[in-house]
């Protein structure tokens, strides 16, 4: 035989093509487009084309994938390649490559279906779109007529992305967003990560550095963050920082891959991070490792508060507030009424914005009003969280606490590498105040190499969706809506109330979400569904949520639709190009809103078609100047600035200081709730169920945790045959001694259980996990388990942030007696 019949290549062809490709590589430049291969023939083969899109795996990565189409089929999805020299900006993961199997999966839902039996009975009848929409709209109209507009709820998570089809609360997705602002019903947002989202992004608004800034850090603390598996963009920069000599410390109950790549592993008991943070703060204060200048000038430490805890402001001294610039959000002038500090330079009280040398500590008085500094108050309130306390609470040594505190304060700049590991307990909200306090004490924020928070980069396109009028319908159509986090749904369904307000939720449509697989407290969700008249799920697959619904409306996958997306972490903007025709009768989210809106009285909600909205969103003057209009993206696919210059954060909040004290904090869904003083300061309280002295531990001694594996994107991508070949069946990770005490061997089927529920799965034994802890998978759906579901063990509880507390549960493990 010849080489040609085996590889299609001859030695002559080999040498020739090598030379040609060298020349192409040399032509690479900083500004890159995909023009060479997007929507145009690849290598002159008329039947093969490439398109750019994204995997839509809900990990925040939004990686650009280049999809190759051959004979009408998407045959490959590979990550879009940054130009030479920007390898650290590479994208993609083991899941995105498997996209063709997801697109052509046998469990895709291809037609609208109505459940004709009990919910969950799998007794589906295929119906037409007209029938399905009529069924849904009849239920909505009837419920709203009988119970009021709030009887219809729209429940989303982050499963889809894009300016047309995304469904993020108050951002992205013109289809969802115009509907949201018009339908006057109830909006349900996911509880996942809300402790961080609410406290960090909404309330405290810390400055954040870009990923590239990791290379400036001398100490990196991966705190509850297994970035190698979950935030991949960080890893090359962390490696570079370590090559430059940075020390890396992993704080995690598990010896993760990130821990394996660190210099030190501190195996804290999960849910106790806040105790460690406050003990570090006290050690730093007691040993005078404080950056007093930063604390005074850049944090809220010197601001004066009254006995009721509120800020003492210039208006309290009879100086009337002034009006600032018009707020783009309210259309009203910003009211300027600065907080007051004691200026050591003048010995006088003064505006925090004009004082030269604010006092961080001291007692003051103004016409009989006692004043003290935020720092004094917080320090006094948190004194009990000592090194000794934390060592006991976290089950680590006092030396480990001291070493971490000393390193954090003295071997800076220090960056806390954070993902969501410290976000999944009922006490998690405190962690964000505690980290801001630590950073303020040591000046480890808003400087090169110093950061405590999620990292971000630039955004290139000059229009964000939220501030674009296209996202909003005619003002005469707009109506207010009620909002709640998903953890409150069962309580609302049972009582018909959200806190003190009536909320008779009767029809719910779930979009871009799979809460019965992914949210904490699954048994409570399933048990309270009986109070709903109609549950509609818009999904691509027969998900755990879809199977308990009355109606499924099939929605397309990303490569079946055109859309637009920005990736702030990669500084890349791209048109999500349609590569293949939608399967079966699936429609885009945008099309589904268009079908439903006129049937429930929302006539005229959409005045443009999909492409019309993309034009309107992109074709502004700013984007014309920088060559980023719809037509530019249509032609280029991807437009990117491949800068890897670190971006350093600033405090964008009204105080312009790092906030670790929150006197104006309100509870998210029930704003009138009176919050105790501890909620407003750095604080620690033990977790709700998973704490060491809980008497329940006699029955359920093990601390439950779940992981975000490399191989799942929440409930997505885990039923891919290729991934199953590598990853195998889902397993619970147990310490080998914990397993031995229970007679459990490697790969045994085991039952993990508590009073709420159980799950049966394989055991994986490790030395790299605390003996009192287990790790369950997060992602695989009910079909992947012999019995039960990991989320059947979890709590349903809403703290003031609405957070889902996936890891706040106790359990026991035993060898399964149900056979193989």
């Amino acid at each position: 035989m010849s080489e040609a019949s085996s590889g299609g290549l001859t030695r002559r062809a080999f040498l020739k093509t090598t030379a040609a490709a060298t020349a192409v590589t040399a032509a690479g430049a900083g500004l890159s487009t995909v023009a060479a291969h997007a929507a145009s023939p690849t290598r002159g083969l008329p039947d093969e084309q490439s398109f750019v899109n994204t995997c839509r795996g809900n990990c925040g990565g939004k990686c650009v994938l280049v999809g190759k189409v051959r004979e009408g089929k998407l045959v490959q999805t590979r990550p879009y390649e940054p130009p030479e020299g920007f390898e650290r900006s590479r994208m993609g993961c083991v899941k995105g490559v498997t996209y063709p199997q997801r697109l052509y999966a046998p469990n895709r839902v291809l037609y609208p279906m109505i459940q004709r039996g009990e919910r969950g009975s799998d007794n589906w009848e295929r119906v037409s779109w007209d029938e399905a929409i009529a069924y849904v709209s009849d239920h909505i109209n009837k419920a709203q007529a009988e119970y009021g507009p709030n009887a219809f709820g729209l429940w989303h998570s982050y499963g889809s992305e894009g300016w047309l089809n995304g469904a993020y609360h108050q951002s992205t997705g013109v289809g969802y967003h115009r509907f949201l602002n018009t339908f006057g019903g109830t909006v349900i947002i996911p509880g996942g990560d809300q402790a961080q989202v609410y406290m960090g992004l909404f309330v405290m608004q810390h400055g954040t550095n870009s990923t590239a800034d990791y290379t400036n850090a001398k100490t990196l603390i991966a705190w509850g963050a297994n970035v190698t598996d979950t935030v991949r963009c960080c890893w090359p920069y962390i490696c570079d920082a370590r090559d430059k000599g940075a020390r890396m410390i992993a704080v995690d109950p598990r010896y993760t891959i990130t821990a394996a790549g660190s210099d030190t592993w501190i195996p804290v008991r999960s849910g106790t991070d806040g105790a460690l943070m406050l003990a570090m703060a006290n050690f730093i204060i007691d040993n005078d490792l404080v950056d007093w200048d930063f604390l005074a000038k850049k944090s809220v430490a010197p601001l004066l508060i009254k006995d009721d805890g509120s800020y003492f402001k210039l208006s309290d001294m009879g100086i009337p507030p002034t009006e600032g610039p018009i707020s783009p959000w309210t259309g009203q002038p910003v009211i300027i009424n600065p907080e007051v500090v004691f200026d050591k330079a003048t010995g006088q009280l003064a505006s925090q914005f004009t004082a030269e040398d604010p006092a961080v500590t001291g007692e003051f008085e103004y016409e009989g009003t006692r004043l003290r500094t935020v720092f004094d108050y917080v320090r006094d309130m948190t004194k009990q969280f000592t090194v000794e306390f934390a060592a006991k609470e976290c089950d680590i040594s006092e030396e480990q606490v001291i070493d971490l505190a000393t390193t954090y304060a003295t071997n800076g700049p220090t960056t806390v590498v954070m993902a969501q590991g410290i976000c999944h307990h009922v006490n998690s909200r405190h962690n964000y105040k505690n980290l801001a306090y630590l950073a303020s004490l040591t000046g480890n924020i808003d400087k090169p190499g110093a950061c405590i928070y999620l990292n971000k980069n630039h955004v290139n396109v000059e229009t964000t969706t939220l501030t674009t009028k296209e996202m909003y319908p005619d003002p005469s159509l707009m109506k207010p809506y009620a909002t709640l986090c998903s953890e409150r749904v069962p309580e609302v369904l049972e009582t018909g109330k959200l806190g003190e307000a009536d909320l008779p939720l009767k029809v719910v449509m779930i979009v871009s979400a799979n809460p019965f697989a992914s949210e904490s407290g699954r048994p409570r969700f399933l048990e309270t569904l009986k109070h709903l008249d109609c549950l509609v799920t818009v999904d691509c697959f027969m998900s755990d949520t879809a199977r308990y619904s009355d109606v499924i409306l099939p929605v397309g996958l990303s490569f079946e639709q055109e859309d637009f997306l920005q990736i702030s972490s990669h500084e890349v903007d791209f048109l999500m190009q349609k590569a293949v025709e939608p399967a079966g009768e699936v429609k885009s989210d945008f099309e589904i809103y268009n079908l439903l809106a006129p049937k429930i009285g929302l006539d005229g909600l959409y005045d443009k078609d999909a492409e019309g909205y993309l034009h309107a969103l992109l074709d502004n003057e700013a984007n014309k100047k920088i060559g980023r209009t719809y037509d530019d993206f249509k032609r280029e696919g991807v437009i990117a600035d491949w800068s890897e210059e670190p971006v350093i954060g600033t405090e964008a909040n009204a105080l312009k200081r790092v906030q670790f004290y929150l006197p104006d904090l309100i509870a998210r869904d029930v704003a009138y709730t009176v919050l105790p003083a501890e909620e407003k300061i750095p604080w620690y309280e033990h977790a709700m169920e998973a704490y060491q002295d809980n008497p329940l531990r006699e029955k359920y001694p093990l601390f439950g945790n779940s992981e975000h594996s490399n191989y799942t994107g929440h409930s997505m991508y885990n039923d891919i045959p290729w991934i199953h070949e590598i990853w195998g069946d889902p397993y619970v990770m147990l310490n080998d001694e914990t397993a031995a005490e229970r007679g459990i061997a490697e790969d045994d089927l085991v039952r993990v259980f508590n009073d709420r529920g159980e799950v049966v799965l394989r055991a994986r034994l490790t030395k790299g996990l605390r003996k009192d802890s287990i790790i369950l998978p997060h992602g695989p759906q009910q079909d992947a388990y012999r019995v039960g579901h990991p989320q059947d063990l979890t709590l349903c509880f809403s703290d003031l942030t609405g957070n889902s507390s996936y890891n706040d549960f106790l359990c026991e493990v035993e060898k399964w007696k149900g056979g193989e």
Partner: protein
């Protein structure tokens, strides 16, 4: 002459198997077969460490595929010359049409699992071929393995697994060129190879 080698930085490799999956799709590899896999160098089970205390825990990853040996054991035993070392590139190749399925190469190769045999007509999860159209068609009763993406190398591209490595752990290039990245990395960093005592002179190096 050209001697293409693979250099994998074990300090950067996180065992994510993105390379393995990319290989699987690029080469339209049949059900149940993997030309490249990440293996845990640690505890007894995958993704677990060895060591008894936090200070002594250890876990690294080794990506295992054909080592494209300079002195390949497989080539010596192949009775029909189906497996051979390409002198132009140093890539150890497998000619499916010549292979008679005797599997002598699999027995001779000291790197267990890098070669596989199609006992049956290859099966696929999808009803069309994925990946690159230049990949040779898989056949029943032949041995196959990592080709170092010969089809891509021939077009002047790198092997697919190198392109996508987010940890920038995988490097590929010409060891005979002293200015190549691989030559420089091997000059600067300590490295190891798999089973060097077997005398196969593998073309895969692991930076440690």
């Amino acid at each position: 002459m050209t001697h293409y080698v693979m250099v994998v930085d074990t300090k950067r490799c996180v065992g994510c198997n993105n390379c393995s999956m990319t290989c699987k799709v690029e080469n339209n590899i049949p059900e149940g077969i993997w030309w490249s896999r990440s293996l845990t160098d640690g505890g007894e089970a995958e993704l677990t460490p060895r060591g008894d205390t936090p200070d002594t825990m250890y876990m690294r990853f080794l990506t295992l595929a054909c080592q494209h040996c300079e002195n390949p054991a497989c080539v010596k035993v192949c009775p029909v010359g189906a497996t051979y070392r390409d002198e132009e590139t140093g890539i150890v190749r497998q000619d499916y049409d010549k292979c008679i399925g005797c599997r002598m190469c699999m027995s001779a190769c000291p790197y267990t699992g890098v070669r596989s045999f199609n006992w049956e007509e290859p099966k696929y999860f999808l009803d069309f071929a994925t990946g690159d159209e230049d990949v040779p068609k898989h056949q029943k009763h032949v041995v196959e393995k990592c080709t170092m993406c010969y089809h891509r190398v021939a077009r002047g591209e790198r092997p697919a697994c190198v392109d996508i490595c987010r940890g920038i752990a995988r490097h590929w290039g010409d060891l005979d060129d002293p200015n190549s990245t691989v030559s420089q990395l091997l000059a600067e960093r300590s490295h190891t190879q798999l089973l060097p005592e077997m005398g196969t002179k593998p073309s895969v190096y692991f930076l440690v």
